[in-house]
């Protein structure tokens, strides 16, 4: 448990540095985790070279889902959209620095699914986006 609820996760959950909405934005997408009702919206601003300049998330959910969203937003600023498209499951686990069982993995990966669905311009955040 001390692993799962590492201080960094509790800290990002309680005091997120990238929570909010961007208006105007270049990309915005939101979706739910139907299992638990967690909800995440992600807004991005992207410059003319396709580099993410600002990234914020909003929504509600457990510590794992909210902390991973915050860490993910922090990590993509300065990255190109092409690089964002290449992010996968392992990148999120590396950010969190923990191992997760199948149920909590869904919580951790919701933000990545939402982000990539937004970047690809898809209608739905599907599991195919995680590989």
């Amino acid at each position: 448990m001390d692993d799962l609820y590492r201080e960094v996760i509790i800290e990002h959950y309680k005091n997120p540095s990238h929570r909010g909405k961007l208006d105007p934005h270049d990309i915005s997408f939101a979706d739910n985790n139907p299992l638990c009702g967690d909800h995440i919206q992600i807004d991005l601003r992207v410059d003319e070279k396709g580099i993410v300049t600002e990234a914020l998330f909003d929504g509600h959910g457990c510590a794992i889902s909210q902390a991973s969203a915050d860490l993910l937003m922090e990590s993509i600023i300065g990255k190109s959209l092409e690089e964002v498209k290449k992010l996968n499951k392992q990148d999120i686990l590396d950010l969190l620095g923990i191992d997760l069982g199948p149920v909590r993995l869904k919580c951790a990966l919701l933000s990545l699914k939402v982000l990539k669905a937004g970047v690809y311009g898809l209608g739905e955040a599907s599991d195919d986006l995680l590989e």
Partner: protein, 408 residues
């Protein structure tokens, strides 16, 4: 009458196992599914070791034995809920399938566009979605008995709804989230006065209360074995034989027929008319053993024990700053305590409790509209049964303090 809980716990081998960090499991999730006593596990085992065969058609010894066991369990279940006859006990997979059977067979034969079906705001998805589907197909209308802030049904609003002459009223006898025990006899009586047929979702009530379907005058009553010490994969639809007799079959196939020609069939009589294909035979045997087990201990004693535990749990949980409980007071509810903890998501609560071996459920418990009504995405839920103890409640409370400290 006081239950000998220590003795009862010895019947449930799973309660002795270790989980995370070598902690003994503290199982507070019986509302989702109950644990199974040795008496049930062994009855099913014995069936497979000694008597396994397909039922009804065979004339050999094993087939006759299997048939007698399968039908014997039906008799036991009929007596347990005081059905007038075992012909009125239809085996299904679970409560959900029982409700779907009514929606597919009775409702499609009796409801047309514009007909009103009354449900409640505290229904499980299993008593919402079949009606949504029928609404899309048939254009029936749905309306809902509201839930008050303290978690009971608003019967005055129900009276107003009844003036619109519904064809069907379908409601849960006991809420799987709030724990509310609804006044079923009163709700059914009012529906009958308005000319409606009544279906009761008894998934949570049959395991915990004495249920008498004739005294209640329920037209249909649905429940599952797995929440009452029996196996998964089998449930029951009780229906008054006058209604079941008039209903068209649901699934077609073997066993539900009297006669089949190349281009036609004649349906079997009750209860077989609704039991197509090889059923869950070992599970029926286990269901019968579960009924024997509960009957032996006594439903009144079980209900009294659960009430004592629930009252204690609600008192102790209420003491914890930041804990908000949902549902009515202990005198109006069964063994369920759904709560939120300020600042911590229910999933995190459940996950951290799990590290101490405490099994609670987190989420919307298949009652999303009810959670929306209370303006929360999810709750944590601890639930109790005949094997639950006050010590386990104390462990839960200590665990919640631990969560608070972690997120503090």
């Amino acid at each position: 009458m006081t239950l000998n809980v220590n003795e009862i716990r010895n019947d449930f081998p799973i309660l002795d196992r270790e989980t995370a960090n070598g902690r003994r499991v503290i199982y507070l999730d019986s509302t989702a599914t109950s644990q199974k006593p040795l008496q049930v596990i062994e009855a099913m085992n014995e069936y497979y070791r000694r008597s396994n065969a397909n039922i009804h058609r065979g004339v050999h010894t094993l087939a006759e034995e299997a048939t007698a066991m399968y039908e014997g369990a039906r008799e036991k279940i009929a007596k347990f809920i005081n059905a007038a006859s075992s012909r009125e006990i239809i085996y299904t997979r679970n409560t959900t399938e029982s409700i779907n059977l009514v929606a597919y067979s009775w409702a499609r034969a009796n409801l047309k566009a514009g007909d009103l079906v009354i449900l409640t705001e505290m229904e499980h998805h299993s008593n919402l979605v079949p009606w949504h589907m029928l609404q899309a197909e048939r254009g029936i209308e749905l309306d809902f008995i509201p839930v008050t802030d303290d978690g009971v049904l608003d019967l005055e609003a129900y009276r107003t709804l009844l003036a619109r002459t519904p064809k069907l009223v379908s409601f849960t006898h006991m809420s799987n989230v709030l724990g509310t025990i609804n006044p079923a006899a009163e709700i059914i009586g009012m529906a009958h006065s308005a000319g409606a047929i009544v279906l009761v979702d008894g998934a949570q009530s049959v395991p915990h209360l004495t249920v008498d379907v004739q005294a209640l005058d329920a037209d249909f009553y649905a429940f599952s074995a797995h929440k009452m010490c029996g196996p998964t994969g089998i449930g029951v639809l009780y229906g008054k034989s006058v209604l079941l007799d008039a209903m068209p079959p649901f699934l077609g196939g073997g066993d539900m027929i009297k006669e089949v020609k190349l281009r036609s069939f004649r349906a079997n009589s009750l209860p077989h008319k609704f039991e197509a294909g090889t059923p869950a035979i070992a599970e029926a045997v286990g269901f019968g053993a579960a009924v024997d087990y509960l009957k032996n201990i006594g439903m009144e004693g079980i209900a009294a024990h659960e009430h004592e535990i629930t009252e204690y749990a609600l008192d102790r949980l209420e003491e914890i700053p930041g804990v908000k409980l949902f549902g009515p007071s202990a005198d109006k509810k069964g063994g369920v305590a759904a709560f939120t903890l300020e600042g911590v998501h229910p999933h995190d609560v459940a996950q951290i409790l799990d590290q101490d071996g405490i099994a609670v459920r987190a989420g919307h418990h298949c009652a999303q509209p009810l959670h929306e009504k209370f303006g929360i995405p999810a709750t944590s839920r601890a639930s109790f049964y005949l094997y639950s103890t006050k010590e386990e409640v104390d462990m839960l409370v200590n665990g919640i303090y631990k969560v608070k400290k972690m997120f503090g």
